[in-house]
Every structure is written in structure tokens, then in C-alpha cells.
């Protein structure tokens, strides 16, 4: 026996001294005895049952229902059919069972929650025949011990349960016997005893249909039981992901984890930052970017997140603190989101079809503030009568656009139109609101479709998962549509006991098409000129109308008479003349090999190849306004009077291609070992290599003829041409470029976790990163990033007697994560450009001067958490407090401009250096309460509450003039303040005599607006507070009645501010950008008591308007509560009672989102998520998923 044992392991040179083995056995014996002792003391629950000649299975079912226990019948197939007659009322379980089984050769044992039934051992069989004592460990696939697995000797019939350490020991079994291991959630396994006296068995999880009870978290390196975690981990399971209907993966994550903030505000007047769409526990960097690291399965994901089909996602794991995320080292400073994709499981082939449609309401463009047409026209008339229109509404040159009202008034003045007709037309215009046309013709309701099909299954040796998905998402902006096709194939092969080989293939094709439709953002493409409030985009018959936003109508007519092609522009008619398409193809191939060197040591090799190509084509058709405009501009009359065209006719085609190739490799050794007794140690040591190469090129082709594929590229790009507009010159826009970026990483890391007695868990990790980022000296230093964590499951202590709180765990972790910015290097670097401004020579621009002390940004995270649960998890949750201190953050260190480093002329000269610090702190609270837990009716509430705030602790840049800090959208660090902060000028009301806005300068009321703007120091500015939420979370209520479930998610954000738009007269008079506040302006003495809107002045005074726009009177609290979404679902069981088919089911669901706020702190009816931009409509989805 001994000999065999040694021979088996000889190759690995492991010798376990006999002495040790004996000790292990004796410990096992002691613990087993203790366990039996406890069992004997158990008080059994009472059973009520009434049955005459019924199968035993009926009683089993009744007991299971009344006690919550589960029967486990090992090799006793005939038992459930046996007939029994039992009449009991509140009789203890042991009495009931003993009575039932007294005549049968059976006995039973209880190990909560399992009732094991086994055959009685005939005494005779155990006499003689070399009896053995066999002990061992039972582990799950992660190497964790499993408690409560039943170990039965097949012949001997002896049985035992595993202890909390996964240990078991069985005395007196025949040496030729076989042990049977069975448990509630694991597949039954057999193992011949042979000559072993010590066996380790790794159990496979049972395929559980419908509900997956085993929830593991995934760090991208290891999957583990959350109970053994020391760090802060948020998990989002499949049911939660499925609740939301959207083709965008991130939508499925919102309001499903504590500490994760989603800032999804459309671009508008720029109040709330959109640069941080997802933040985990606030921001702890300034320049390095705050996006969390996204891991898909094992590797960081480099492709576009839109390539991930949410239907393929099994779960999200959010790693928030150092203990959880430090394994990712230099990239983990912002937290990590690990996406675990769906895999095949051991089962018959399963097919799942999911299909849904979503109706998107037309966005509400009336949410855009706009001056009333009548107000605007009255203003125009007044200015015309005063002779002030020329400079503002007409322009002094002959080509600047002129508004229709001014044009009419001019005609009256010239005597070519009667004033009656003109007035009648003007009155008609007064009744128009351009937003009606915009809403009806530039926006549309849309119907999105999503289909997906999965095929999965497998045997003990081979599992597979195959999926295809299709999304068709037309946008609510006319002319835009997004299509996506995804395919996924995963295969895992188990070869013998030791080898496991997996391969994966993932293919995504995404295609976006946009037309020329800026929607309400008209000004972005028309020289900052807004749509006139009374403009018409279509005529009464619905045909597109021209508008004259860039040039005067008479100028265009003249040009056309001179022989230039059509120069008119119709926003509705031009939508489809341009086609901006973006096609991306993303291919990910992965393979992994696992080799079990011994039962506790596994070697893993993983490799992933990703190839993502993106083709961008901006097709400006020959008849598009863009092409016609450029063509006409580059025309001019020659000396002889004939027209010279310097641009070829035909389409203009802009192309951009990007190719991303990423290769990642990993080699790691994973070990899990139960040391003597109650010690369990697991960990890994490994290395990663990663290389991402992104290449791109852009080009523009003029004179492209799609019919013949001919082009005309022989153009003189450096020649300065006379333009059609008198006195203007220009060069033909040249767009040619190449780029290549290389991102290389080498990392070595190790983690260790040690568990004692399932009560104390200690973890640690260490990682070294190197990248092609820094100078050699920094890389050689190899700054280690590390973490330590400790958990204490208090409720497992013998002294713990708090019945109400049956589970209590305390976690503490501390560690150092990193963050990366590629803003600077240890060398002098310069950017190369093709073509100078005035010559065709190549040029180089100095970007950085050597910074020899460059290093990773460091983020120290301290996390203290408590996990708790009441009996039966009626109330469970966690409370975490953390500190997140960023140091060595890359910041702009001010330097003497004499050094010549000026990058942005006019702004202070700086050098990027590791000089800044940010201190973050916060609280995450998560609570699940089972408010009603009836058999039929259930009501569950899930609460999330987070507080996250971070302030700058160190920043060397001198505080500049106050006006540099007005944009809350941009990080302008100030010591002691949040990164995104809202500052404004003090507001001292309106001047009662003329309605001028008044501010504060040099200790007194002031109307020197330019002086206020330029010379108010930051400490004299009013600081309102953060511009990002500091308190946020959600409450999700789910009601289930039978197969019907209904849930409502309410999200809230508090503790932040925004700036509301108001009237800016300069913009009104020059760009027609109006605001309904115009109607509330100061007009007469005394108005200053009723309004804070300054009086109208006809001479644009930029400082006056800027002062008002950025004064405290326009700052509002952004606090809000939103009804996030409502979800309903109905499950239909198609298994017709056949248990093995119970996964056959149909789920029919509905989902509504986009309700808007149910409460806002501002009482002006402004939705803080949509300030000054069209408001998204509601989304209604219905769908069904069918599993076969």
C-alpha cells in the first residue's frame, strides 16, 4: 500500500511522512466524532402528514416542504415507490422516519439540510476481509472544501458526511470497496478504494436548471466562492442582466451594484461630465482616465464595448477594492469589471431563443429651450425700425444670411412688397415653432429588434456553447441605424483526468449609418447659427424647404445665375445625401490548456488573439450640401469672367480605417491545497504578456464617381485659391494620415489565500508590471503593486450566539493599485505630421521633454466591510467603508514659459509630472430584504446606496483666474475641492434702474463685467459644490406571484449641481440662440423684484452676457429621483411535470424605461440629465425567451 502511494507521486518528489498522515487521520477522527455528537443532540423539527397506502415519495416531499431539508437517496431507486401509511401530527422528524423505516433494511442520518438514506450494513459482511479506514477530502472545482457531502461505501454501506473542512473518514470498509460521493448540488461520483487510505475527490457541480445556485465571482484569474473573498466584490447575476432590454451591454449593469455610477448625459450645454460614463467608487486620477478596466473572461478587452452582445453574458463581477482588483496591478486603479460569458454545461443539448422588440418614443425636442417666435420677431422688427438689424441680423457683407423677417421688412422698405402682405406673412411666422418640424422630420419613433439563439450542452468530457445574435437598432434621429451581428462558439474538452483544452471564437460585425442630420444640434454644423425659432423645414405638403443659414438667398441666387450649381440647403432634404457609415468586424480567438500536475496544482496556458477592423466612410454625395458648398466655394470668376472650379465635381469621400491587433498570453500555476486539518491554501503565480498594435489611416478623395470608381486626386493642396466669396482665400482641405500605436505589457504576479477553519481568511497579492511606456530606468525599478486582505466570519465562532443575525462577516483590505497615462515619457518626443501649414514639408512638434522620474500612478485603497444575513437570508446585505488615496498622480506641473514648453498658446505652460494627489472616500451599502416570502407571493426589495466623494489633496498648478474654473465639465483641479466642481460669479441682483446684471468686484457691487470676468480670483468665486453626484443608488422592488413577476427600479442621485441655460443676448443677436427666459427679462422699473433675467441691450456685450450665464443665479441643485424602469415577466413551464425536462420553459417579458425624474430638487421642471438637449422618450420592450 505504501509502496504504491510513493510510486505514484515519486515523479513529483513529494514525500508525505507517515507521521503526518497519522496525525491527519486522527484529526479527522476527532472531528467526525464531534460531528456525530452534535447530530445526536439535534432537535428535530415536527412533521405533520396524513397518508394511507401512499408512496414513500409523498412523505419525502412533505418533509422537504415542511423542513426545507432535502432527501438524498444513494443507490436506493426502489425506495420512493414503497407504500406507506402514516398519520402524524406535529411529531418530531426522527420519530416519523424511524417508524417508517423500521421494517426496511434502511437507516437515515441528518446533516442539515440533507437527509441521507442508506442501507443498513449486514454485520456479517464486515467481519474479516482486511477492513480499512479511509479518509480524505472532498473539494469543489475551485479547490474549496465542500461540507455535507455524503460518502458511502458501496459494499460496506458505511457512510459519513464531510465536515466543514471537506474531510471525511470511514471506518471498516472492505479494501475492494468503492466509495460513493453524493451531495445536493454536486454530481455523484464513485471512487474505488483500492489500497488508498487517503483520497481526494473533486466534485463537479450539478447542472442546475433554471436557477444556478452556485454563484462564483470571477476576477479574470480565478473563480471563487464569495464567502472566501476578503475584498469588495459586486456581482450581477444573469437574472438581473436579463431584466433589462438593450443592445448595449452597459445598460444592463446600471443600478445593479453598489458604488457604480453611470453618467450618461447626452452632449448638451456641458454641465455634467460625459467623460466618465462609468465610475467605480468615484475618481482617483486626474489625467489618466477614470474608465474601469474591462475584462472579458480572462483578458482585458481592447475592442469596442458595443461589440459585446449582452445575451452572451452570464454575469458581471465588479472588483472595487485592492484585495479584489490588485491582481490587475497597474491598470486596476479605477476598479475592474469582469464580464463572464456564458459557457456550455454538462447536459443534453439546450436551445434558448430570445427575441424582443423595443419601441422608442420620439425624443422630446421641446425640452430644448427656445425663445418664442413672436418674441423673436418683435425683437427683429424693433431692431429693424431702429436701423440696428444690419450688423446683427443681416451682416454687413453681401453674402451673410439674412433672416426671413428682416428680408420681408427690407422689401417693404424698398417698396417691392406691401406692408399688409408683409405683416400678414410675419404674423403667420409668429405662430410657428421650428421644433415642431424638427420633431416631425428630423426625429422619429423607432423600433429596435433583438434576436439571439443559443445552443449549449455537453458531456462529462466535452461542453459547448454556440450563439448567434442579431440587433437592429434604428435611431430616433432620422437616417441613423445600427446593426449588429454576433456569433460565439466555445468548446471545452476534458482529456482524461489531467488535461482540459478550451477554444473560443467570437465574431462581431457592427454597422452604423448616419445621414446629414444634426437634429436639434443644427448650430454645430452651421457656423454656430441656430435654427430660427420660426423657421420651416417643410412646406404644408411635407416637401423639404430650403433654409438660408449660411448664405444670403440673394447671394445664392446670384451665384446660380453666374453658373454655379445649386447652393441651397434643406435640412430635411439633405439627410440622405450624406452617408456616414462605420463598419467594424471584431474577431476574438482564444484557447486555453489546463494540465493538472497533481490534485492541487494546475498549469494553465491561455492565449487570445483579437483582430478588430473599423472602416469609417463619410460619403458626401455630389448632390449633398457639403459637397456642393465646398465645390462652389472653391470656384471663382476668372479675369475673363468665366468660372474657374478648383475642386473636381463628384462625390467627396472620407475614409478612415483602423486595425487593432491584440495578442495576449498567460502562463500560470494554480494551486489549491488543504493542509493538515483546517488549513486551506490556494493561490496562483503567473505571468502575462500583452501586445496591442493599432494602426490607422485616413484619406479623402475628391471627385469620386461611384459608378466607375474613378477619382480625381491630382489636386494642388498647398495652393491658396481665391474663393467664391469676395476677398476670401483657402486651401483645399487635405486629409491624409497614418497612425500606429503600440501598447506592450509584461506582468508577473502572484496571489495567495489562506483559510483557517473556514472562519479566518487571509489573502495577499503582488504584481509587477512593465510597459513600453516609460523610460528604461522606471521600468527597471518595477514598482510592485500589492494588496492584503483579511476576513473573519464571526458567526462561525463558538461564542457567537446572535440568532437574529445568523451570518456575520467582517472584511478588511488594504493595497496599492496603479493607473496608467500615456501622456508623457522619459524621452523628448515629437509628433510627426505630413505637410506643414504653408509648405508640403513634414513637420515635427515637440510633445514632451524628458521626465526621468515618471512612474505609475498609485492608488491606495482601504476597505472595511461587513456582510450580514438573518436566518434564511430574509435580510442580507453588506456595508462597506473605503478610502481611496491617489498619489503620484500625473498632473500638470506649472513651469516657466521661458522654457519654451508652451503647448497651448495662451494657457499656462506645464509639464506632466507625478505631482498630484486625490483623496476619495465613500460608503457602499447593499441590502436585500425578502419582505414577503409566502409560498405564492413574494416581495423582494434590493437597495443600493453609495456615497463617493473625492477631493484634490495636492496640485502644484497655481490657482488661475476664476474664469478658468467655470466649466464644471472639465477637470480643473483645486486643492481641497472635488475634481469636477461648479464655480460661478457672485450674483448681486439686477440694477433697478436699467436691469443690468450686477456682480461683485473688489468688495463692492460692480457692473464692470469684463473686469469681473477677467480679474475675479478663484477664492472670490462662489463655489456651489460638486458637478457629479456624491450620493447615488437605487431601490428595486420585485413582486412575484407564482410565475408572474413584476419589478420597479427607482434610481436616485444627490449632492451635485448644474448650471441651467438662460438668455444670452450676444448669442441671441448673432446666432439666434434664444431662450424662453427672454420673456421674463427686466423691462420696466420694478421688474428686478420679480425676475433675475437682465434687460435686453441691442449692442452685443459679451462680458455682460458671460457674467450672467456663469453667475450663481443660474446654478441649480441637480438632485433627482428617477423611475428607472419597470419590468414584468411571466414564466411558463413547458416540462409538463417531467422533472428531467424542467428546463423547458418560456419566459414572456415586458420592459419600460426612460420615464424621467419623479422628483427633482430644482422646481423649474428641468430634468438634470437632459439640460438644454432633446429628452429621450420612453422605451417599451416586449419579448420572449424560450428554452428547449
Amino acid at each position: 500500500m505504501m509502496k504504491f502511494f510513493y510510486q505514484r507521486h515519486f515523479a513529483f518528489r513529494i514525500i508525505l511522512p507517515l507521521r503526518n498522515r497519522l496525525r491527519i487521520s486522527s484529526i479527522c477522527l476527532i472531528s467526525l466524532i464531534t460531528f456525530l455528537h452534535v447530530t445526536a443532540q439535534e432537535k428535530f423539527p415536527n412533521i405533520t402528514f396524513d397518508g394511507k397506502d401512499v408512496p414513500f415519495s409523498k412523505l419525502m416531499a412533505a418533509i422537504e416542504r415542511q423542513t426545507g431539508y432535502t432527501f438524498l437517496l444513494t443507490d436506493l431507486d426502489e425506495v420512493p415507490q414503497r407504500k406507506i401509511t402514516v398519520h402524524v401530527n406535529n411529531v418530531p422528524l426522527d420519530e416519523v422516519l424511524n417508524k417508517c423505516l423500521q421494517d426496511w433494511p434502511l437507516t437515515w442520518k441528518l446533516k442539515v439540510p440533507t437527509i441521507l438514506m442508506i442501507r443498513k450494513i449486514p454485520e456479517a459482511d464486515t467481519v474479516g476481509k482486511g477492513m480499512l479506514g479511509v479518509g480524505g477530502f472532498v473539494l469543489d472545482s475551485t479547490g474549496a472544501p465542500i461540507e455535507g457531502v455524503v460518502v458511502t461505501s458501496k459494499r460496506g454501506g458505511n457512510s459519513s458526511f464531510t465536515s466543514s473542512n471537506g474531510e471525511f473518514f470511514i471506518r471498516s470498509i472492505p479494501e475492494t470497496d468503492t466509495l460513493v460521493f453524493s451531495g445536493v448540488n454536486v454530481l455523484t461520483q464513485e471512487k474505488a478504494v483500492g489500497w488508498h487510505s487517503w483520497v481526494t475527490v473533486v466534485m463537479k457541480s450539478k447542472v442546475s436548471v433554471l436557477t444556478d445556485v452556485t454563484v462564483y465571482y470571477n476576477t479574470g484569474y480565478v473563480k471563487d466562492d464569495p464567502n472566501r473573498a476578503t475584498g469588495s466584490i459586486g456581482m450581477v447575476n444573469n437574472a438581473t442582466i436579463d431584466r433589462t432590454v438593450s443592445s448595449n451591454m452597459l445598460d444592463h449593469m446600471e443600478n445593479t451594484a453598489a458604488g457604480v455610477l453611470f453618467n450618461h448625459v447626452p452632449q448638451g450645454n456641458g454641465n455634467t461630465p460625459i467623460s466618465d460614463p462609468v465610475l467605480i467608487r468615484g475618481i482617483s486620477t486626474i489625467l489618466a482616465g477614470s474608465t474601469p478596466l474591462i475584462i472579458v473572461d480572462n483578458f482585458p478587452y481592447d475592442g469596442s464595448l458595443s461589440n459585446i452582445n449582452p445575451n452572451d453574458i452570464e454575469s458581471f463581477t465588479i472588483l472595487k477594492d485592492a484585495a479584489a482588483s490588485a491582481i490587475w496591478g497597474a491598470r486596476a486603479g479605477n476598479g475592474v469589471i469582469v464580464i463572464t460569458t456564458k459557457r456550455g454545461r454538462i447536459s443534453k443539448t439546450r436551445i434558448e431563443i430570445n427575441s424582443n422588440i423595443t419601441y422608442l418614443q420620439r425624443p422630446d425636442v421641446f425640452n430644448n429651450p427656445m425663445i418664442a417666435s413672436s418674441d423673436f420677431i418683435d425683437l427683429e422688427k424693433d431692431m429693424f425700425n431702429q436701423g440696428l438689424d444690419a450688423a446683427l441680423f443681416a451682416g454687413s457683407d453681401p453674402y451673410s444670411p439674412i433672416t426671413p423677417v428682416i428680408a420681408l421688412l427690407k422689401r417693404v422698405q424698398d417698396g417691392t412688397l406691401s406692408s399688409t402682405i408683409a405683416n400678414a406673412r410675419i404674423e403667420t411666422l409668429k405662430g410657428q415653432d421650428v421644433r415642431k418640424d424638427v420633431s416631425n422630420h428630423l426625429y422619429t419613433p423607432a423600433l429596435n429588434e433583438q434576436e439571439s439563439l443559443h445552443l449549449s450542452g455537453g458531456t462529462a468530457t466535452n461542453t459547448y456553447y454556440l450563439s448567434v445574435g442579431f440587433d437592429h437598432d434604428p435611431s430616433t434621429i432620422v437616417g441613423s441605424v445600427y446593426d449588429r451581428l454576433t456569433g460565439r462558439l466555445d468548446n471545452e474538452l476534458t482529456l482524461g483526468d489531467k488535461f482540459q483544452v478550451g477554444t473560443g471564437l467570437n465574431l462581431t460585425y457592427g454597422h452604423t449609418v448616419n445621414g446629414d442630420n444634426p437634429g436639434m444640434g443644427f448650430e454645430s454644423t452651421h457656423g454656430s447659427k441656430y435654427l430660427l425659432p420660426y423657421a420651416r423645414l417643410v412646406n404644408a405638403a411635407g416637401a423639404p424647404l430650403d433654409i438660408y443659414a449660411d448664405y444670403r438667398k440673394s447671394f445664392i441666387k446670384n451665384a446660380e445665375q453666374q453658373g454655379l450649381p445649386d447652393w441651397t440647403y434643406s435640412p430635411v432634404g439633405d439627410i440622405f445625401a450624406e452617408k456616414h457609415s462605420n463598419a467594424s468586424l471584431d474577431l476574438v480567438l482564444s484557447t486555453n490548456i489546463g494540465y493538472k500536475i497533481t490534485h492541487f496544482l494546475e498549469l494553465q496556458l491561455k492565449y487570445q488573439y483579437e483582430n478588430q477592423t473599423v472602416h469609417d466612410i463619410d460619403g458626401h454625395a455630389a448632390d449633398s450640401y457639403y459637397t456642393r458648398d465646398l465645390y462652389n466655394l472653391f470656384s471663382h470668376a476668372s479675369a475673363t469672367g468665366s468660372l474657374v472650379h478648383n475642386l473636381p465635381a463628384g462625390n467627396i469621400r472620407d475614409m478612415a480605417n483602423t486595425l487593432l491587433i491584440s495578442q495576449q498570453g498567460r502562463m500560470l500555476l494554480d494551486f489549491k491545497k488543504v493542509l493538515a486539518g483546517k488549513h486551506f491554501i490556494s493561490g496562483l503565480i503567473g505571468g502575462d504578456i500583452k501586445s496591442t498594435i493599432t494602426t490607422g489611416n485616413t484619406s479623402r478623395i475628391y471627385g469620386y464617381d461611384p459608378q466607375n470608381s474613378t477619382t480625381n486626386s491630382a489636386l494642388a493642396y498647398t495652393t491658396i485659391y481665391q474663393l467664391y466669396i469676395e476677398g476670401e482665400q483657402g486651401q483645399i482641405p487635405y486629409k491624409q494620415g497614418f497612425s500606429k500605436k503600440v501598447d506592450n505589457f509584461l506582468s508577473a504576479y502572484s496571489t495567495v489565500s489562506y483559510t483557517y477553519d473556514n472562519r479566518y481568511i487571509t489573502s495577499g497579492s503582488l504584481r509587477f508590471d512593465q510597459a513600453n511606456l516609460f523610460g528604461a530606468s522606471t521600468n527597471q525599478k518595477g514598482v510592485p503593486l500589492w494588496s492584503v486582505g483579511e476576513s473573519w466570519i464571526i458567526s462561525k465562532e463558538s461564542f457567537y450566539h446572535l440568532k437574529a443575525l445568523s451570518s456575520l462577516k467582517l472584511r478588511v483590505s488594504y493595497g496599492l493599485n496603479g493607473n496608467i497615462s500615456r501622456l508623457t515619457t522619459a524621452f523628448t518626443t515629437a509628433d510627426y505630421y505630413n505637410g506643414a501649414l504653408t509648405t508640403p514639408l513634414n513637420t515635427a512638434t515637440i510633445i514632451t521633454l524628458p521626465n526621468k522620474d515618471l512612474r505609475w500612478e498609485k492608488i491606495r485603497i482601504l476597505n472595511i466591510g461587513i456582510d450580514f444575513a438573518t436566518p434564511n437570508n430574509r435580510i442580507s446585505g453588506s456595508l462597506e467603508v473605503y478610502r481611496k488615496n491617489g498619489s503620484d498622480l500625473l498632473g500638470q506641473a506649472p513651469v516657466d514659459p521661458t522654457l519654451g514648453l508652451t503647448l497651448n498658446p495662451g494657457s499656462p505652460t506645464y509639464l506632466y509630472s507625478n505631482i498630484a494627489g486625490v483623496r476619495g472616500k465613500g460608503i457602499d451599502f447593499h441590502l436585500i430584504t425578502h419582505n414577503l416570502n409566502g409560498k405564492k407571493f413574494k416581495w423582494i426589495t434590493e437597495w443600493f446606496l453609495s456615497n463617493a466623494s473625492s477631493v484634490v489633496t495636492k496640485y502644484l498648478f497655481e490657482v488661475g483666474a476664476g474664469n478658468a474654473y467655470l466649466n464644471g465639465n472639465v477637470i480643473s483641479p483645486v486643492k481641497g475641492r472635488p475634481l469636477y466642481a461648479l464655480y460661478s460669479f457672485e450674483w448681486k441682483g439686477l440694477d433697478p434702474t436699467n436691469g443690468d446684471p450686477r456682480g461683485w468686484l473688489g468688495g463692492r457691487n460692480s457692473k464692470e463685467w469684463a473686469n469681473i470676468w477677467n480679474n475675479t480670483p478663484l477664492d472670490s468665486m462662489h463655489y456651489s459644490g460638486p458637478a457629479q453626484p456624491t450620493y447615488f443608488g437605487s431601490v428595486c422592488n420585485t413582486w412575484t406571484r407564482g410565475r408572474f413577476s413584476f419589478s420597479v427600479n427607482i434610481g436616485y442621485k444627490f449632492g451635485y449641481f448644474f448650471r441651467r441655460p438662460s438668455i444670452n443676448y450676444s448669442n441671441l443677436l448673432t446666432n439666434y440662440e434664444g431662450n424662453p427666459d427672454y420673456a421674463r427679462r427686466w423691462q420696466h422699473l420694478g421688474d428686478e423684484t420679480k425676475t433675475s433675467v437682465p434687460s435686453l441691450i441691442y449692442t452685443p456685450n459679451v462680458p455682460r452676457d458671460a457674467f450672467y450665464s456663469y453667475s450663481t443665479v443660474l446654478v441649480e441643485r441637480a438632485d433627482q429621483i428617477r423611475l428607472q424602469d419597470i419590468s414584468v415577466a411571466y414564466e411558463v413551464d413547458l416540462s409538463h411535470g417531467r422533472k428531467q425536462l424542467s428546463y423547458r420553459h418560456l419566459r414572456v417579458y415586458g420592459y419600460v424605461a426612460g420615464f424621467g425624474p419623479i422628483w427633482t430638487a430644482n422646481k423649474l421642471g428641468i430634468d438634470p440629465d437632459y439640460v438644454g438637449v432633446p429628452k429621450d422618450g420612453k422605451r417599451f420592450s416586449v419579448g420572449a425567451s424560450l428554452s428547449l
Partner: protein, 460 residues
């Protein structure tokens, strides 16, 4: 534990084995468009960066001098108030002038040119001096542009040259390396001009013969021209004569104004044969010079004869006022050098040396190209002083809004014969700037002083 040890050795050895490869892997260039400048091509590309070196658009050379000069006046009812207080103060020669917390681009941008030149010179020193034209172009170019940048700075931030006082008057910091820790001191005006002339002479020694491929690059003719301008600035007219003559030997073409078609608002383009080297004034700040919306001095405008084509090409009239359109660049305020200026330098130097006829010959050569064909009657002078008077007037009429008027005021004011007092009226208040006033030197920004505690401020 032994197991772990073995594993650790295993993983380590794999990494060690690949160590050599690893160093290559980690040395990969993160961005192909980013270079660590090393080759001649790289360095030439730094100097060919016209946006930085020549300044069309985003960068460029000082406007403050021209802002304070007497070529224009501002409509103070509206326009004046659109300028920042800094430019309002520059316009009225305020003794309290301060940029506050704002950057002074007139200082920052020429020093950026200096950084590019220093970077090129340092990297060049690591290469073998092969005597090739390419090498000479880089070295000569870097020296030339550093010289020019220092010259433009000295005209604003250092006192006018004076053979005695310049030995003690503070000059400008003469940054010589790309080292971020270089100690910057002002030195003296003499040291400043020594450096300007030294760099330009050194450039001359290495620049290849022949005209440059592009006017954005330095050439021998440009270096001679710049030297002539610098010697004229310091009042050494003999040297100015020598170098202006050398320059015109290499490049003397003048643009016949009668051939120009007026189509756009700015009639001149960048391919003008008169341009020795192109440079523009900075267009970052909204300044009276770059806004192109100020009125030309009425008296100055009245000096142009009807047949003088400059009257038509340099100005447009709107609402009874003249706007300047004579920039030698279609979009920005040209402040480089032209052969026309060199003719004027040579003419002035000849006059000051007493060679009246040679002086007038140069003046007439220039003016013949400025007048409508067949209308020009050559000017004559009674004596050298009369020639000088005519030349200085024509210089005024030729080189307005070219960044030279301020320097001319500073140097000519030293001679009581030419000294004038400037006057402006804003909102009824009269501001004057008498000759040789300390306000002819502009203040160094508080920001720069805060980084250099020992640096002295210019008295106003």
C-alpha cells in the same frame, strides 16, 4: 512549500529566458507618429514646423511693439472695449500695465522657437558634422531662428541699444539648452545683442549657398538681411550697409506692384519674391494688430501719392476709414523680412554714410516697383540729410504693420532730430508717450518673475 519554490523558479526562468526579447518588447515606440528626434530628417522636421517657427496662425512673434506704435488708432466707442485690459493698457502705454494671471504670448511663443532650436542643436551635436547641405540647413536654421526669436524679444522686453548703458541695462534671458533646469538670468542688453549677432554669424557660416527651397527656411540671404536689421537697430550703420549689400547680392528681386490683381481682401500671397524669410505676428490674442479692424493713421495715409499703388493695395476704405490690408500673408500679420526692407536699410545706411546718390538710387529702385508703370518720377535729394528724411518717410510708408515701427521709434527717438511724442485719445483722455520713455520697454509678466525670483522687472 517546495512545490511553490519549484513553480516560482519555473516562471522566473521563463521570464529570464525571454529577458533579451523583453527589453526590445518594452522599448517599442508607443506611437509611431511620435519620434525621439535623432536623425537629421527629424531635426529638419522640427525646424520645418512653420506653425511654431514661422507662426502662421496659432503661434508667432510679438505684436506688443506694433500695438504701441503710431500706425493706427482705435475707434474707442465700441472696439476699444472689446480688447482685454492688457491690450488696452498696451494701447495707452499704461505704466500700470500688467497681464495679471494671463500668459504673455509675446514672451512665451518666441521662447518656444528657442526651445525648438536648442533641441535641434543639442541633438545635432550627437551626430557627425558631415559638412553636407542637409546638416548645414539644420544647424544654420536653428541658429538663425534662435537669433531672430531673441531679436524680436529684445525689441519688446529689453531697453533700446545704447553703446554705454547696454553694458548694464538688463537684457533678455538667453536660453541655450533644452534642459528644464537651466538657470535663466537676464544678463545685459549688450550680451543679448552679442548673442543675436553671434548666432546669426554662426548660421551664416554653415548655411548652404543658394536660395532656400521655401521662404519658411533660413538662407544666407536671410541671415545677411537679419544681420543688417540688427546692426541698424544697434545704430552701427556701417555694418548695416555691409550686410544689407551682401544680402542684396544674393537676393534682390522686388515685386512689381502693377502686376498684382486685387481679388481678395489681402492682395499679397506667400509666394512673393521679396520675402527673405517668412514670419508672422502671433494671432492668439485678440490684439489691435491681428484683429485687422483698426483704422490706419489718417496722416500716414495722406502721405501716399495717388499713383503710389500701395495706396490701393495696402488699404481698403470703409465708412470713411482705412483698414490695412498690405500684409505679406493672406491671413496673418507678416513680420518677416523682405528685400524691400533691405533696400531701405542700405539706402538709410548710405545716407548716414553721406552717399546721397547711392542712397537715392536704392530708394528709387524700390519705389519704381511701387508706383503704377510709367508714372514714377525718381526722387532727388539735396543732401544726405534730405535723403535720410525721404528714406525714413518711405520706410514708414513701406514697413507699416510689419513689426519694425516700434524698433524704429526706439532707435530714432535717440536722435532729437527724429524724435516724436506719440499721442492717443481714449474716451476724452489724452495719453502721450514722449521719446526715450521707459515705457518703450514692456514689463515682464508676473508669472515669469514668479518662477525666477532673482529676475528684475523693467521699470515703467
Amino acid at each position: 512549500m517546495r512545490w511553490m519554490y519549484i513553480c516560482f523558479i519555473g516562471v522566473q526562468s521563463v521570464f529570464l529566458f525571454s529577458c533579451k526579447k523583453a527589453s526590445d518588447f518594452l522599448a517599442a515606440k508607443p506611437d509611431e507618429s511620435q519620434v525621439v528626434p535623432t536623425t537629421l530628417t527629424d531635426l529638419q522636421a522640427l525646424l520645418d514646423n512653420d506653425l511654431i517657427i514661422n507662426g502662421p496662425g496659432q503661434s508667432g512673434y510679438p505684436t506688443l511693439g506694433e500695438t504701441g506704435a503710431d500706425n493706427y488708432w482705435i475707434d474707442t466707442t465700441i472696439l476699444y472695449h472689446q480688447f482685454s485690459p492688457y491690450y488696452q493698457q498696451a494701447y495707452t502705454w499704461s505704466s500700470q500695465m500688467s497681464s495679471g494671471a494671463h500668459e504673455v504670448n509675446d514672451w512665451d511663443l518666441p521662447y518656444r522657437v528657442v526651445l525648438y532650436c536648442n533641441e535641434a542643436l543639442e541633438d545635432l551635436s550627437k551626430l557627425k558634422a558631415d559638412g553636407s547641405a542637409a546638416y548645414g540647413n539644420v544647424k544654420g536654421g536653428a541658429l538663425f531662428w534662435r537669433s531672430y526669436a531673441f531679436y524680436t524679444l529684445a525689441q519688446i522686453f529689453a531697453a533700446p541699444y545704447d553703446s554705454i548703458r547696454s553694458l548694464s541695462d538688463p537684457g533678455i534671458p538667453l536660453r541655450q539648452t533644452s534642459d528644464l533646469n537651466e538657470k535663466l538670468v537676464r544678463g545685459t542688453v549688450q550680451q543679448t545683442y552679442d548673442s543675436i549677432i553671434g548666432d546669426c554669424m554662426a548660421a551664416l557660416a554653415v548655411l548652404p549657398p543658394g536660395p532656400p527651397r521655401y521662404p519658411t527656411r533660413a538662407s544666407r540671404a536671410a541671415a545677411y538681411g537679419l544681420l543688417a536689421r540688427v546692426w541698424q537697430t544697434v545704430g552701427n550703420h556701417h555694418r548695416a550697409l555691409l550686410y544689407s549689400d551682401s544680402c542684396l547680392q544674393l537676393q534682390s528681386a522686388l515685386l512689381e506692384y502693377d502686376t498684382i490683381q486685387v481679388t481678395g481682401s489681402n492682395p499679397f500671397n506667400r509666394t512673393n519674391p521679396e520675402i527673405l524669410f517668412s514670419a508672422d505676428m502671433q494671432d492668439i490674442d485678440v490684439s489691435p494688430i491681428t484683429l485687422h479692424a483698426v483704422y490706419v493713421d489718417t496722416l500716414l495715409y495722406s502721405y501716399y501719392a495717388p499713383n503710389d499703388l500701395r495706396k490701393r493695395l495696402f488699404f481698403t476704405s470703409r465708412n470713411g476709414h482705412q483698414y490695412f490690408t498690405g500684409f505679406y500673408d493672406p491671413a496673418y500679420a507678416f513680420c518677416g523680412m523682405t528685400t524691400a526692407e533691405v533696400y531701405l536699410i542700405r539706402a538709410e545706411s548710405e545716407a548716414r554714410e553721406g552717399n546721397t546718390s547711392l542712397a537715392m538710387a536704392d530708394l528709387n529702385t524700390l519705389l519704381r516697383n511701387r508706383w503704377a508703370t510709367g508714372t514714377f518720377q525718381p526722387y532727388t535729394a539735396t543732401d544726405a540729410m534730405d535723403a535720410l528724411r525721404q528714406i525714413l518717410l518711405e520706410r514708414r510708408k513701406e514697413l507699416l504693420f510689419r513689426g519694425v515701427r516700434w524698433t524704429d521709434l526706439r532707435r530714432l527717438n535717440k536722435d532729437p532730430h527724429w524724435a516724436i511724442t506719440l499721442k492717443r485719445i481714449v474716451d476724452g483722455t489724452v495719453y502721450t508717450l514722449p521719446p526715450n520713455d521707459p515705457r518703450y520697454v514692456l514689463p515682464i509678466s508676473d508669472n515669469v518673475l514668479s518662477f525666477n525670483p532673482g529676475m528684475v522687472q523693467n521699470p515703467r
